[in-house]
Amino acid sequence: MAVINHEAELSRAGANITGWWSRILFFTRRYPLGAVGATIVLVFILTAVFANFIAPMDPTATNARASLAPPGGKYLLGADFMGRDMFSRIVFGARISLAVGAGAMGLGALIGISVGLASGYLGGWVDLLVQRLLDIMQSLPLLVMAIVMAAALGPTMRNTIIAIAIPLVPTVARVVRASTLSLREQPFVEAARAVGMGELRIAVRHVLPNTLAPLIVLATAQLGSAILVEASLSFLGLGIPEPYPSWGRMLSESAAEYVRTAPWLVIFPGVAISLTVFGTNLLGDALRDILDPRQRT
């Protein structure tokens, strides 16, 4: 039942679709907000990937004469206390955000899928144990859990990814488990079993692909929250360390000191975070409408 035929869904929506270009055009017309979101996310990813070509300066090079330089001229978005170019730092910051956001989302999804699949497919005491563990993890708000994890692991890039990924696991695991439970009894799974396919193979080859739609929706939403949590952690001094130009870190401590004298230090990194998360949220909404029509809003 949860198997969704995207082509059918699209043609039902009145689309006559052939080729990528018309698909994109259709998507834009049908989901204008989603298209805006997709564009933002695309720009974000491209910025992250091509940061070295886009940024005019070394994001870590200090310069006394440029300390707190206002936006304009050589320093498009101004310079921070140490005279580092804000534009270059924000461009490289996209790389950090993408690495942490996608890394945490990927790791969280990987663990969540394995756990959810095992739990739903194997059932029994494994399921019971996993469910109780997830209960425990979910008894703390996401940020609180991430803060405790980040403090326990120490402030490095890798640890920040782990600290954000772990709290994301329960939601993924629950979604995968729920779909797996309903799929387990489906005729095609029975059939696969009847022809002597191994359980692991059935789970990975037949059950997993059919849980993908809700997962993609969830992953997009989680990319946004991972970026937000990273920013909050770094703001609190628990996330990405200097001199990496993390957007959240750029807003903490020294930037906040200059809210009056150098507001650009506060405005631009915040705009970068908000815009990126906004984009993922718009895209996520549109994807949910397409892939998971039962939840359509």
């Binding site: 870590t60 006394a64 300390s67 707190l68 140490m82 200097e242 906040a256 009056r260 004298t261």
Partner: protein
């Protein structure tokens, strides 16, 4: 021989208050000050941060104290406090104090010579374990020459030294040397301390506030002027600045106003009185000389040649930080190297391009170059005042083919890591409690000191340190100190990149406040401060 001086000082003070009607001090009022962070405890003897000294020094007295009306702490500006007078014996190894009578602790118990003995026995590491008035002793090294403390009745106490040490009196005069009582356990001293000072601590709410009220039984008649001091802990600096601008505070935390912020404060509050002064806190580079690559003296030399102290100062303090070697430079510093001598030392040259060229030549001879840089990790405490200079250092080292990567260390494990020598380069801050060669050299450069983080061991320098310590003639001693400074700089023992200078601001209604210019840790008794409202 110092007795005479002490008496003169007392009479002078009495004369001043009696004879000058322009000093119409007013009693009353609450002084409101912002605090930058939560003090680890209220026990001054157990901590080494201005976060503790500035609020809590007012609850205590010392035996003697640096004259609070003088800007420069120097050995000849020491005045009586709980001691009425003092005298040295003939060979300068025994120091005897006559104590003030009728002084009471905040809980009403009388102060006696026994309390002095308890305090210094504890500092010497010979205290009564059961009473346990302290459990940490960060300044043990100050008292290595103190052999015994003996009382003679309730009003006399004498200190037996192992050898002559003129600096000993300076250490007793520091804000870090309050007298504790025998009868108050450490736990209380850390949360709600009992002293003899002009103010009583009534409340210390973690991360929120510290409240002190006037000690009505204070032994110095007519003091203090203020009814109370209210400290509000506000961890975010911009919030503190805005609060001061909006009139929520009468005074900023000490040295809280950096030069980029000063302009803003002046714009927000044009009548604010701001004073910029050196804090006697220096930023310095820790070099691990026991492990590759910096076990190579050539490489150490090349690194020092790359340093541009001017550029550090330009960024960190708009050029206001002072260049100096191991001791705080004059005029604020009493002992530091004069400017012309300083310029001859490596790392302090005026022609930085020439030095760097020389540095690059050394690096090239060691096989490094633009395409084959030396990769090093630069460890530092993960707080802004440590990190900022470290980021600049990384940028400067690029000039001589050294590619640095910042390794921010959680502040909880920083000293442990440094002591394990688990680093290549480190960016460090050293605060000096008293502008005194013994305090600085024994702590940071003597081969057996615990706080000699770099493990700098030089028997010759040790001997020079001991010699200057025992020298009674001050001019002779100053020259010996300069020699040591030069040796340390030549050896790259702990290259100093600058002495911090920062501002403290208050409203014009706050009167009678004198900031000490060669140590931020002294001069916070607040007994002469009054509010003109």
């Amino acid at each position: 021989m110092r007795v005479g001086l002490a008496i003169v000082a007392t009479t002078a003070a009495v004369f001043m208050t009696a004879a000058s009607p322009t000093f119409a001090q007013k009693h009353g009022g609450t002084l409101r000050i912002s605090h930058r962070d939560n003090p680890p405890s209220a026990s001054v003897l157990e901590e080494s941060t201005i976060s503790v000294n500035q609020p809590f020094m007012a609850a205590f007295n010392n035996l003697v104290v640096f004259d609070p009306s003088e800007k420069i702490n120097s050995p000849d500006k020491i005045v009586p406090d709980l001691a009425e007078s003092w005298s040295w014996n003939a060979d300068n190894t025994k120091l005897t104090f006559k104590l003030r009578q009728g002084v009471k602790w905040h809980d009403g118990k009388p102060f006696t010579a026994k309390d002095v003995k308890c305090t210094f026995d504890a500092l010497r590491g010979d205290g009564d374990e059961k009473v346990g008035i302290i459990r940490k002793n960060p300044r043990k090294v100050w008292y290595i020459n103190l052999k015994d403390v003996a009382t003679n009745g309730d009003n006399e106490v004498s200190f037996q030294l192992g050898r002559p040490q003129p600096s000993f009196l300076s250490m007793l005069a520091a804000g870090y040397s309050p007298i504790y009582s025998c009868h108050v356990p450490g736990r209380d001293m850390r949360s709600k301390p009992i002293g003899t000072g002009p103010f009583k601590v009534v409340e210390f709410k973690r991360n929120e506030s510290i409240k002190l009220v006037r000690n009505l039984d204070y032994w110095k008649k007519g003091r203090p002027y203020l009814d109370a001091i209210d400290w509000r802990i506000v961890p975010n600096r911009s919030t503190r600045m805005l609060g001061f601008g909006a009139g929520e505070f009468d005074m900023t935390f000490d040295s809280d106003v950096t030069f980029p912020l000063l302009k803003d404060i002046k714009a927000q509050k044009p009548d604010a009185v701001c004073e910029g002064r050196p804090t006697n806190v220096n930023s310095n580079i820790l070099i691990n000389r026991d492990a590759p690559p910096f076990d190579n003296p050539e490489l150490r030399k090349a690194m020092v040649l790359a340093l541009d102290n001017r550029a550090f100062a330009d960024i960190l303090s708009q050029g206001n930080d002072l260049d100096g070697a191991a001791m705080l430079p004059p005029p604020a510093g009493v002992w530091g190297l004069p400017k012309d001598m300083l310029a001859t030392l490596p790392g302090h040259a005026t022609d930085i391009e020439k030095s760097r060229a020389e540095g690059r030549k050394i690096m090239a001879s060691l096989g490094y170059g633009p395409n084959k840089p030396l990769k090093v990790k630069i460890a530092t405490r993960n707080i802004a005042i440590y990190r900022d200079p470290a980021v600049i250092l990384i940028d400067q080292l690029k000039q001589i083919y050294i590619e640095g990567e910042l390794e921010p260390i959680d502040t909880t494990v920083w000293y442990a890591k440094v002591q394990r020598k688990d680093y290549q380069l480190g960016m460090n801050l050293t605060g000096v409690g008293v502008d005194d060669p013994d305090v600085n050299f024994y702590e940071n450069f003597y081969s057996t000191s615990e706080r000699n983080y770099t493990g700098y061991k030089n028997p010759e320098v040790d001997k020079m340190i001991d010699q200057q310590s025992a020298e009674v003639d001050r001019d002779k001693r100053r020259k010996m100190v300069w020699e040591i400074e030069k040796r340390l700089a030549d050896d790259g023992a702990r290259p100093v990149i600058g002495y911090n200078v920062a501002n403290t601001c208050w409203t014009p209604q706050v009167k009678g406040l004198v900031l000490q210019h060669n140590s931020i840790y002294n001069g916070w008794r607040f007994e002469d401060v009054w509010l003109d409202r």
